[in-house]
């Protein structure tokens, strides 16, 4: 391995993606585009209460409505025991999952599913929902993470036993995590400057444009097929099998094209309901969420609250960092507080670090992963306080980062010692950029921030089937969320030595390819890419053996070069090179089909680092922030398809800008979501933004043959602090709470202006 390959024919080119034509012509089938004959429409009844005991549910009137074929409630799902079960690399608690897909004893958030109906039309299904009567006992609710931790807060789950700490009586704290490196007391004793600050971030939604959708069809013999938009067909299979009491092999899940996920489609909502309804009715059932349901009931990421203390010497060495991070998990445990702690100051070589994290349940939808889960939250505070520290010390903020940068051999507070990483390179590129020294006008400011994400590997399986005419079909099992078919095909073409256009990559269903952990963690091009490279090498090995048979020589006498079998040396004999097509054409006579295969649990993901520069202009009258210019620098290891690498960086940065400036969940006093639509939950639109400049740094990951690191997640980590730091630079006002929306910023500006006016 060891990044051995450096000369490429296909890798690094901007080839047209294999699924592109279908996606520009409207042919591509997304989640809700699938239909079957005789299909019923399913709809979900959702709790209007943030917290309520469900005394009883009467579905008889709904069942009596003509056209209604079946109604389900939690009674249709067996209860699950509370234990953390491995699902691929993820740990899940099926007791919570069965309650999240369908409320049992209690409805725990506005939008929590309490019943579902399948009917011959959507209109009838919707009418039937109105006929279901639920007897609720409304309870006090809590949606704020800090309030939920206070004594006397409404308790979501009386039986919740916190992990990692002792609790005296019922609590909403599900878990405490601790990370310690060195001795923080000693570190602060050495410090000449110490700052302490608190920050909060709002819950934000992944905001994928495609709502969740699923079609399930269960036949009389118990075999089920599911078509859905998901980041992981194997995840859907495992979870649905467990919740519906079926065997995994009985369920075949075919992933549709997926209209965005960003982590939000790594869990199940509709699939178990559609399966249960199909089993009950004997008909295929289609379920689609409305946009409102997506906001009310599918996973946002956590709101967070954190307190940090940082110490440094006057010459700019950070000697200690201490922090407490509190993340709300939504209605069930499982916020990304652990990665939030691990990532907070991972870009820096700080000898003394102590971080404590709390995972806290509140009456909001259960959080789901969102791009580098946890890291953007903790980094907002960390990169803000480091900016203040730089100012305090009279340092350029990038120079302070450079002075404390983690590098090869640095021991990270979360455990490992870094191998070769490219953080310093991202800072150096930012310093050297034309952007960093460009002039600024009045009311304008510039901010910088950095970020870290682990990236992951995980289980991947791939097959490379050589066809009779010498082309190749690559079968792998990760939904293509942003161009991964292109990157996999480029790597296969590279290994096989054939034209990219002769490689057809497809995303297999759960029954036609080996297990693949889901699309997430920035793993597909890295881990599944590695499985594809190894599968292609397996095919090449077979091709060489076949050539040896044809030439009647020993198989080690043949090597593969530029898509041809050639004699390894002149000693082997004098043979004309055999092309892949020549060998494939003769395969029936030389041993049958040629299929390369690889399956492994891939290790060695290379961490990703990024440094962003943001220019803003602040309107002092309204508090409105305009992003004037934005540059994102990132170490990607090796850019397999540079356009999609840039696209990931640009998209991540813009999601971060939305998180910084205006995205948030707004609840009324009854705990109901007030902005469950794109008009009021406003994600960035084209007219809000400038071009997003990218600087791609390539410090190869030495544990991948091409040097690949994941790229999709780290770009969302720096933007919030970069924007906050730019606003401070423009106005002198430090924003410690997200979003930095016009009313909030205006209030802060007014508060800062008041003393002046009083003078």
């Amino acid at each position: 391995m060891t990044g051995e390959k450096t000369e490429f024919k296909w890798v690094g080119t901007r080839a047209i993606r294999p699924d592109g034509h279908d996606k520009v012509t409207g042919r591509a089938k997304f989640g809700s585009d699938f239909a079957l004959p005789g299909m019923l429409q399913g709809r979900v009844l959702r709790s209007p209460h943030a917290h309520a005991r469900i005394r009883s549910i009467d579905t008889s009137a709904a069942e009596a409505l003509p056209g209604v074929k079946g109604v389900i409630t939690s009674a249709d799902f067996a209860d699950q025991s509370s234990e953390l079960a491995a699902a691929g690399e993820a740990l899940v608690n099926y007791r919570d999952m069965v309650r999240n897909v369908m409320a049992r004893e209690k409805a725990l958030y506005d939008g929590h599913a309490v019943a579902a109906v399948a009917a011959t039309s959507a209109e009838i299904a919707e009418a039937a929902l109105e006929l279901i009567s639920v007897d609720y006992e409304v309870l006090d609710h809590v949606i704020d993470v800090d309030l939920a931790m206070e004594p006397g807060a409404p308790i979501l789950d009386e039986e919740l036993e916190p992990a990692g700490m002792e609790a005296s009586g019922p609590t909403n704290i599900a878990k405490r995590v601790d990370f310690d490196l060195g001795d923080v007391e000693e570190g602060f004793a050495k410090a000449e400057v110490v700052l302490e600050r608190s920050y909060t971030t709002a819950a934000v939604h992944q905001g994928y444009i495609e709502p969740h959708a699923a079609v399930a069809s269960v036949s009389e013999d118990g075999q089920a097929q599911i078509w859905c938009c998901t980041q992981g067909q194997f995840m859907v299979r495992a979870y649905t099998a467990r919740l519906c009491g079926m065997e995994t092999s009985q369920i075949r899940v075919t992933p549709s094209e997926i209209g965005g996920g960003f982590g939000g489609k790594t869990v199940v909502y509709l699939e178990p309901l559609a399966t249960a309804l199909s089993r009950k009715t004997g008909r295929p059932v289609k379920m689609i969420m409305s946009r409102e349901e997506v906001f009310r009931a599918s996973g946002p990421t956590s709101a967070g609250s954190m307190t940090y203390r940082i110490g440094a010497t006057r010459d700019g060495v950070i000697t200690a960092f201490e922090g407490t991070i509190r993340l709300e998990a939504g209605a069930f445990p499982g916020s990304p507080v652990q990665p939030a702690c691990m990532c907070a100051v991972a870009p820096y070589d700080i000898k003394n670090v102590r971080l404590t994290g709390y995972d806290v349940v509140v009456n909001r939808p259960k959080v789901a992963a969102y791009r580098a889960p946890g890291a953007p939250i903790s980094a907002f505070g960390a990169e803000s306080i480091i900016d203040e520290l730089a100012k305090e010390l009279g340092f350029d903020p990038l120079q302070l980062r450079l002075k404390n940068a983690a590098k090869q051999g640095t021991k990270a507070a979360y455990g490992p010692t870094f191998r070769r990483i490219g953080f310093e390179e991202t800072v150096e590129e930012a310093v050297a950029s034309e952007h960093y020294s460009a002039p600024l006008g009045p009311n304008q400011g510039r901010g910088v921030a950095s970020g870290f994400w682990f990236n992951i590997g995980g289980e991947s399986a791939a097959t490379v089937n050589i066809t009779e005419d010498g082309t190749a079909v690559v079968v792998s099992g990760n939904p293509d969320i942003g161009g991964s078919r292109a990157s996999l095909a480029l790597m296969a073409a590279e290994e096989l030595g054939i034209d990219y256009s002769k490689v057809r990559p497809i995303v297999g269903d759960t029954s036609s390819v080996g297990y693949n952990f889901l699309t997430g963690g920035s793993r597909v091009t890295f881990a599944t890419g590695l499985a594809v490279v190894e599968a292609a090498r397996d095919a090449v090995r077979q091709l060489c053996e076949r050539a040896a048979k044809i030439w009647e020589v020993e198989s080690d006498g043949v090597i593969w070069r530029d898509g041809h079998a050639v004699p390894a040396s002149s000693n082997v004999g004098d043979f004309e090179p055999l092309s892949l097509a020549d060998i494939a054409g003769q395969s029936p006579k030389t041993g049958g089909p040629i299929c390369g295969h690889n399956a492994q649990n891939v290790q060695g993901a290379g961490p990703g680092f990024a440094t962003h520069i943001c220019d803003v202009e602040v309107d002092p009258e309204t508090g409105r922030v305009t992003i004037l210019r934005y540059t994102a620098v990132q170490d990607v290891g090796r850019a397999i398809h540079p356009s999609y690498v840039e696209g990931q960086i640009q998209g991540g940065a813009v999601q971060g800008i939305g998180w910084a400036l205006n995205e948030e969940y707004i609840y009324n006093e009854r705990g109901q979501l007030e902005n469950p639509g794109f008009l009021d939950y406003r994600i960035p639109v084209a007219s809000d933004l400038p071009m997003i400049e990218t600087v791609v740094v390539e410090v190869p990951n030495d544990r991948h043959p091409y040097g690949v690191r994941g790229v999709g997640e780290v770009p969302i980590v720096p933007p919030m602090a970069a924007v906050a730091n730019a606003i401070e630079n423009a106005t002198g006002v430090r924003m410690e709470h997200l979003p930095m929306s016009p009313p909030r910023l205006l209030a802060a500006l007014d508060a800062a202006r008041l003393p002046e006016a009083a003078e």
Partner: protein
């Protein structure tokens, strides 16, 4: 409830369909006519994924009733490529990687085509404001805007 019988022209073809009063044009296209290229991202006019051209006007088909298509012409993403050749916008979206997941792409293409037919030489700001009703969560818009501007340049180049 009696259904409405609607006679219309979709992508140049005469089409008749039956729809209920509350069905939107988007519902009809997707559920009755199997034209699933137009997408539903919100059903409230906020995302533009359902963009079509109705009698020459760019509209969100989720805000138009199916019955309103009576006697009108509808152009959808399915009618954008001619025979086996892509529209220059489609080609440039592919070449410039102006799509990641692709769910927003039909809406952007239909909207961008309508822009270039009205204004063959738009500034970046004009493109950004025209497309402000089309949401994309994947790309940060950069490559979309570039692909539209490049297409405008090329088409003008050919015309002159």
């Amino acid at each position: 409830m009696a259904k409405h019988h609607v006679t219309t022209t979709i992508n140049g073809e005469p089409v008749e369909f039956l729809c209920s009063t509350r069905q939107t044009l988007l519902d009809v296209l997707r559920d009755e006519l199997n034209l699933t290229g137009s997408k539903e991202g919100c059903a409230s006019g906020d995302c533009g994924a359902c963009s079509v051209v109705l009698d020459g006007r760019l509209v969100c088909s989720c805000l138009v009733l199916g019955a309103e298509a009576e006697g009108k012409t509808v152009e959808t993403i399915e009618g954008m490529a001619q025979g086996d050749s892509l529209h220059p916008l489609q080609q440039n979206f592919l070449e410039d990687a102006a799509l990641q997941c692709g769910i927003c792409t039909p809406g952007f293409l239909v909207a961008a085509k309508a822009l270039l037919e009205r204004n063959p030489d738009p500034t970046e700001t004009e493109v950004r404001y025209w497309l402000a009703g089309n949401l994309c969560r994947c790309t940060g818009y950069d490559k979309i805007i570039r692909a539209v501007m490049r297409t405008a340049d090329e088409v003008r180049g050919e015309a002159s």
